[in-house]
């Protein structure tokens, strides 16, 4: 899933300080599952804004709404009869959400309510970590099913570098050295010879480096 974290409320308050009718829009997709942008967080953000304005003795109207997904136009459409009543909209979906809203409602002021982080999964409740860098050409099978592009801080394809210690990366004791895991796993699977093989430079054409990506699947297009 796409993992995001809440933007500091202070920053959001600053963003919308000149508006008195605010719509907070959540998303029931990834951001609900990672506890950052579902109905629950919509209510918390809305309440926080109200408290802040109340404290400053300012008028405010905050409405809450959570869409099935903000990355599908049909659901974004749901807002069409209400969005006009608000002078600011905070989307707490991933970075896709505010853009879909902006594109669909060109006259509305849309603000992002979360900081989108990465594609990853939950290690346990409350802890998420990155797994995929979206490079466009998956190679994890060469590395014992683990991705060095997303998970090595230097994206080494011929690691590990000399900074690996006690299974941790040189950048932080909290970051595991994925190459340490790769080597151990390949040794366990008796596949060391594959790891000794030289991996040539990767083509980044399919990654973001190749420009903004768009995918057309002819068999699906109407």
């Amino acid at each position: 899933m796409i993992v995001a974290e809440p933007k500091p409320i202070k920053e959001l308050l600053e963003m919308v300080k000149d508006f008195n009718r605010i719509l907070v829009v959540g998303c029931k997709g990834c951001v609900t599952v990672c506890n950052v942008g579902g109905a629950k967080e919509v209510a918390i953000l809305a309440s926080s804004i109200r408290i802040s304005r109340k404290k400053m003795a300012q008028e405010i109207e905050v409405e809450e709404h959570t869409l099935e997904r903000q990355c599908d136009p049909e659901y974004v459409d749901e807002l069409k009869d209400m969005i006009g009543d608000y002078d600011a909209v905070i989307s707490i979906a991933c970075g896709v959400g505010p853009q879909f809203l902006s594109e669909r409602y060109p006259s509305s002021r849309i603000f992002p309510g979360v900081n989108t982080q990465f594609m990853g999964g939950a290690e346990e409740h409350g802890i998420w970590s990155e797994r995929c860098a979206g490079c466009g050409t998956c190679v994890v099978h060469y590395f014992g099913g683990l991705c060095p592009i997303a998970r090595c801080s230097k994206s080494l394809l011929n690691g590990p570098c000399g900074g690996s210690a006690n299974g941790k990366c040189e950048i932080s004791k909290d970051v595991e050295c994925i190459w340490d895991l790769i080597v151990r796993k390949m040794m366990e699977q008796d596949r060391l010879d594959e790891l000794i093989e030289f991996k040539p430079p990767k083509s980044w054409i399919t990654a973001r480096d190749g420009g903004p990506r768009r995918m057309i699947r002819e068999e699906l297009v109407k």
């Binding site: 409320i9 209510a43 918390i44 309440s47 926080s48 109200r50 408290i51 802040s52 109340k54």
Partner: protein, 135 residues
């Protein structure tokens, strides 16, 4: 003289709050009338939103009173609540509101006076802070 009488909302777990109330009653100790209690089955039931709502309604302070960490009937209820209170403190800070307006207390069922004492402690602390909404 500070004659400000803060309005405080308290979320209390029915298990420990009830037996603490029992002991408090036995000691002829009473809760201050400006502390308003909401009973819940376990403090683990309280959400961040529930802790914010009283402020939206103009309360001056909020607290959660639950069991000792090692004697929660539901194992981790009070631990969860404690973390949520910590989070609300952060939110309040970001809203430029004193984080001391919210707190969490671990009561032991046998120490009823604490039930009343924390209520007064909270009242006094919030009194120091003054009204949440300036008149």
């Amino acid at each position: 003289m500070n004659d400000f009488k803060p309005q405080i909302v308290a979320f209390c777990c029915s298990n420990c709050a009830s037996s603490a109330a029992n002991v408090a009653e036995g000691m002829k100790k009473a809760l201050p009338d400006n502390v308003k209690i909401i009973q819940i089955p376990c403090t683990g039931r309280v959400e961040i939103l529930h802790l914010l709502k009283p402020f939206e309604e103009g309360a001056d302070g909020v607290y959660v009173a639950g069991c000792q960490e090692d004697s929660c009937q539901y194992v981790s209820g009070i631990a969860k609540a404690t973390k949520r209170v910590t989070h609300v403190k952060k939110i309040l800070e970001e809203l430029s509101i004193e984080p001391d307006r919210i707190d969490v207390f671990n009561l032991s069922a046998g120490k009823g006076q604490e039930f009343v004492e924390v209520a007064y402690e909270m009242v006094n602390k919030v009194k120091e802070l003054g009204p949440f909404l300036q008149a």
